[in-house]
């Protein structure tokens, strides 16, 4: 029986998961790594930390699953998209990876929008923004010319890990699309954009379909990571695409709500809805469909930040349970405290920050905890409403990401959205990646077959209508204050904070 390994290189940490051909999870291991914020608005990680985390986790995963490295049929990697690793011509890492949550390229984006915005939108369906790869490259060229000079190839995080496993440099359509350098209809690198911006095309990796085998684990990597030489490694794809697939969202109208470091709302659609700011059209793994996505850069990270900032029990997993219990004692509305979770700006407005409004002397810590959960739910509803304005429709959502483990948060989100929420038994990107591997090596006939055999729903949450009505009033306050705060944060930025 073939076992399938899925790996996810996420924003907060990495995961390894192994399933058998019935989709039963044999092991699941994760480890956090550091994000450094060298200046306000910057966010970087060291690719070496990803490797070390994997190297540490692999033996644990094999031990728990009772498998040897040779029992793995194939490895498929998913990862946070848009983040970029710069390599020199020997394949060495030139600088820390710039994460997609980084906002250093505000000035570059202004220029890209002004001078190239229309062309980029036409070619990629996307407008320039600070969270995508191209502005980072332009920033590096301007601020770190020595690094740029030596850059021989760029890779996204999953491509980097695959490269370290196999020696093969490549990427897939979806990650390529996320760079702002991809011709979305032609499915190839955009020579038009590269020419206009003077980006040498030879630094861009070859683009392959996600479910194709890209190479095999080489002997050096086998020794370093503890894998079996010759294990097939697939091209893989973005974490989002893996999650949507792995949680079973493969038909038009099916919605996905992700509560991870970042949060997003995705709805599978039959056609692309390109154009409007902050709503993104991406290829779906099912090649005839798309999904429409809008997101926030601070979701579960806001809860984690609150934990790390205000709870002394640093890093203990039981703290979240304690926080949930505190928040559950407070009625919907958190006594009037409103939290805006934009700790790292928002995708549309890099100047935004986080805030707590409406605080009174009677408020205790539990009100703050609940306000964080509710504020994040509001930020996600805001995302959905942008899509609904285009005509996108979704009746129910699959909840995924670390935050979905909180039953209180599931309830709050269901009440805020006024929709049914489904909790898939497995939803991690690493699970979708593993299933994708199964499609790639022929264990499953196709995506539908894999979903039918492997995806299970663990819980269904229906909204409480009176809570939904109350949240509606409060959501108006959330939106009205955000409009005001946009202006204030611009002023704050001008004071050079």
């Amino acid at each position: 029986m073939a076992n399938l390994m899925g790996i996810d290189i996420g924003s907060g940490g990495c995961k390894i998961l192994i399933v058998n051909s019935r989709g039963e999870v044999l092991t699941q291991k994760c480890r956090e790594y550091e994000t450094s914020y060298p200046h306000p608005g910057w966010a970087e990680q060291n690719p070496r930390d990803w490797e070390d985390a994997l190297r540490g986790l692999l033996p644990l995963a094999f031990a728990e699953a009772g498998l040897r490295p040779g029992d793995i049929g194939c490895i498929t990697i998913g990862a946070a998209t848009h983040s970029v690793v710069l390599l020199d011509k020997k394949g060495g890492v030139l600088r820390p990876a710039i994460l997609w949550t980084d906002r250093r390229s505000i000035a570059e984006v202004e220029v890209l929008k002004r001078d190239f915005g229309d062309m980029i939108l036409e070619e990629t369906y996307h407008a320039p923004n600070v969270n995508w790869t191209l502005p980072y490259l332009v920033w590096v060229r301007a601020h770190e010319p020595g690094v740029w000079e030596e850059t021989a190839k760029i890779l996204m995080p999953k491509d980097y890990i695959r490269y370290r496993f196999t020696g093969k440099m490549a990427t897939d359509y979806m990650d390529a699309h996320g760079t702002l350098l991809f011709d979305v209809l032609g499915r190839r690198w955009s020579s038009r954009i590269c020419q206009a911006l003077d980006i040498p095309m030879d630094i861009l990796p070859e683009v392959l379909p996600p479910a194709q085998i890209a190479g095999e684990v080489n002997s050096g990597a086998a020794a370093f990571f503890g894998l079996a030489p010759g294990t097939p490694v697939l091209v893989g794809t973005t974490d989002q695409a893996c999650e949507a697939f792995g949680s079973g969202a493969i038909r038009p109208g099916s919605g996905l709500l992700k509560l991870a470091t970042a949060g997003n709302v995705a709805v599978v659609t039959e056609k692309a809805y390109p154009g409007p700011p902050r709503v993104y059209a991406y290829y779906h793994l099912a090649s005839n469909f798309w999904y429409t996505l809008s997101g926030t850069s601070s979701c579960a990270v806001a809860y984690r930040w609150f934990r790390d900032t205000f709870f002394e029990e640093k890093g203990e997993s039981g703290v979240y349970r304690m926080m949930d219990e505190m928040a559950a004692k407070v009625a919907p509305g958190a006594g009037g405290i409103l939290f805006h979770p934009s700790l790292q700006g928002s995708l549309g407005d890099p100047y935004l920050r986080a805030d707590f409004l409406g605080i009174m002397a009677s408020h205790r810590k539990e009100h703050f905890v609940r306000a964080v959960l509710e504020g994040v739910a509001f930020s996600l509803l805001d995302c959905l409403q942008k899509q609904e304005a285009l005509g996108v429709q979704a009746e129910e959502f699959r909840l995924i990401g670390g935050g979905a483990r909180s039953s209180l948060w599931r309830k709050i989100i269901s009440d805020v959205f006024g929709r049914r929420m489904l909790l898939p038994a497995e939803s991690d990107a690493s699970f979708g990646a593993a299933l994708l591997g199964g499609v790639g090596i022929g264990i499953f006939k196709n995506l539908e077959d894999a979903v039918e055999k492997c995806v299970r729903i663990r819980e269904t949450v229906d909204p409480d209508i009176s809570n939904h009505r109350l949240y509606g009033d409060f959501f108006s306050c959330y939106q009205a204050s955000e409009a005001v705060l946009k202006d204030l944060y611009r002023r704050l930025h001008r004071l050079s904070f």
Binding site: Y37, P40, G41, A43, S298, V301, W305, D308, T309, F310, F311, E312, V330, A331, P332, G333, G335, G336, L338, L343, Q344, R353, A354, D355, F356, L357, G358, I359, M360, A361, S362, H363, R364, K365, F368, L470, D473, F474, S476, C477, A480, S481, V484, L485, D487, L488, Y489, R491, L492, L495, F497
Partner: protein, 515 residues
């Protein structure tokens, strides 16, 4: 008879009871403080239990005498003050009819609006002050409308200090400063205004006789002597409001001197030669005949830091217990490491709405401008800075009257923090003097000395008794930075005020609010 050698000052402040024991030259022999609870039964409400004041007073008194190894029977005179114009309503057989609605209570918003609309100008003319929920008048009107059965039973009205004095002497009176704060006094004539009392539905006879703060008005009864250890017959002066006592005790006795008080509530006071009626500040007579002081008060000052500690700093409190030091010190040590401006994190301390300069009961507190980089220490500093901005905001009201404050005497619990003093001096851009004892109880004890003729007059008592422990000069560079940030502090207030109104409306009528 043993020589009488001590002066005792009692302060029933908003946060707790403070007692100061002086020798006859005005030097501090000992002091004690005990907190009592403020209850917030609903958002915006704030109440205290008068019995709790008495109980806390007795405990504190016993401790002070134990710790100083002195004997209470050798007290020569007692001065007393309290947080101002909180009405204690007494019915038959000395029964307290309801818990005391405090000056920071915001429940009487609607009544204040009604009064302002109908007779606001008239009130301003008679009392020199503008109607808002802090005053006794609108609060009594709230009781009239919501608890008429209580109002019917009122036989006597006391203010905070007057109730405690009553329990010691059995006498019933108040001073002209506390009375002025009720919004029921004709300020020019120093007489109860029958027209304004008429608004409350109470009869003028339930309000106490009005006397001068330093007058001897009663003596400790036998029963009180047994309960407290004080000698029967020890004289008490009428006393006054906490603010009047502390301005005096901090040595502000000349025109142009300023006081900043960082207590539960904050305020900025300016000594003036006459009342300067302004809708943005309060005018009160000073204990020195002919002098007035103008107060611009904020609602949440040290309260904000205490609330912050109690609400969000359980970790530091635990650490403090283990290390045997104050949690505030640990918070200050963290805040000290953060650059001026808290890297863009702003705190607005309107936990109980705000008085000067906004007089907006709908305002609420906020933290604005957090990023992933912001840690606990940023929040700790932002709270200190936010409170300092709010005091600058209040001080500008007085500046607007055209009388510049020359220097500041800093008092209240917040003055104990060297970091907070520094931040305040830098935000205000004025030299800050810290009196050795900035407590109202110290001022009250000095005033008791005046009452029994120990000092020739109030000014002489200050010359003999007041010492300073620190003088902090503003740093020019820091002041410049704060001046650059302050307009944004203002702007954030301006922009969020309507949002907070919206939040209030979204929750109006929802009994779960604040649960």
């Amino acid at each position: 008879m043993a020589k009488k050698e001590y002066l005792l000052g009692i302060d029933l402040g908003t946060g707790g009871c403070k007692i100061t024991l002086l020798d006859t030259r005005g030097q501090v022999l000992g002091e004690g403080f005990t907190e009592y609870e403020t209850r917030y039964p609903r958002p915006g409400w704030a109440e205290q239990d008068p019995q709790e004041w008495v109980k806390t007073f007795r405990e504190t008194l016993r401790r002070v005498f134990e710790e100083t190894r002195r004997h209470p029977s050798r007290v020569a005179a007692i001065g007393i003050d309290g947080s101002t114009h909180n009405a204690v309503l007494m019915g038959k057989r000395e029964k307290i009819l309801r818990s005391c609605i405090m000056w920071m209570d915001q429940r009487s918003i609607r009544q204040s609006r009604g009064l302002e609309r109908r007779i606001g100008k008239e009130i301003f003319r008679i009392t020199f002050n503008k109607v808002n929920p802090t005053w006794t008048l609108p609060q009594l009107l709230w009781i009239r409308e919501n608890e008429p059965e209580i109002l019917e039973k009122v036989e006597r009205v006391f203010f905070t200090k007057d109730y405690l004095r009553y329990r010691l002497t059995g006498t019933w009176e108040t001073d002209y400063i506390d009375a002025h704060g009720s919004m029921l006094l004709d300020g020019g004539k120093r007489r109860w205004s029958e027209d304004l009392i008429g608004e409350t539905g109470l009869s003028p006879g339930v309000f106490p006789p009005i006397r001068k703060p330093a007058e001897i008005c009663g003596r400790v009864t036998r029963r009180a002597a047994i309960e407290t250890g004080l000698r029967e017959g020890t004289p008490l002066i009428v006393g006054t409001s906490d603010t009047a006592a502390e301005d005096y005790g901090a040595g502000a006795i000349k025109v142009g001197q300023g006081i900043v008080k960082m207590a539960t509530a904050g305020n900025v006071c300016l000594m003036a030669d006459r009342p300067y009626p302004t809708p943005a500040g309060f005018n009160y007579p000073h204990v020195i005949e002919g002098l007035w002081y103008i107060v611009a008060g904020t609602n949440s000052c040290a309260l904000a830091n205490r609330w912050y500690r109690d609400t969000l700093c359980q970790g530091e409190m635990k650490e403090a217990r283990a290390a045997g030091k104050a949690a505030f010190r640990i918070l200050d040590e963290g805040a000290e490491k953060i650059p001026l401006g808290s890297e863009g994190l702003f705190f607005h301390p309107y936990l109980l709405g705000e008085r000067s300069p906004y007089f907006d009961p709908f305002l609420r507190a906020s933290f604005i401008g957090a990023t992933a980089r912001h840690r606990k220490e940023h929040f700790s500093r932002a709270v200190l800075e936010g409170v300092a901005y709010s005091l600058l905001d209040a001080q500008r009201v007085l500046g607007g009257l055209g009388r510049k404050i020359k220097d500041i005497r800093l008092i209240g619990g917040g003055a104990k923090s060297p970091l907070w003093r520094k931040i305040l001096a830098d935000v205000l851009g004025k030299p800050v003097w810290v009196p050795a004892s900035g407590d109202a109880s110290f001022g009250s004890a000095l005033l008791a000395g005046v009452g029994i003729g120990l000092f020739s007059d109030p000014a002489e008592a200050v010359r003999q008794g007041v010492r300073y422990v620190a003088r902090v000069s503003p740093d020019a560079r820091a002041h410049k930075l704060y001046q650059k940030y302050f307009p944004l502090y203002r702007k954030i207030h301006d922009q969020l005020a309507p949002v907070h109104r919206l939040i209030y409306e979204a929750f109006a009528g929802d009994p779960q609010t604040g649960s």
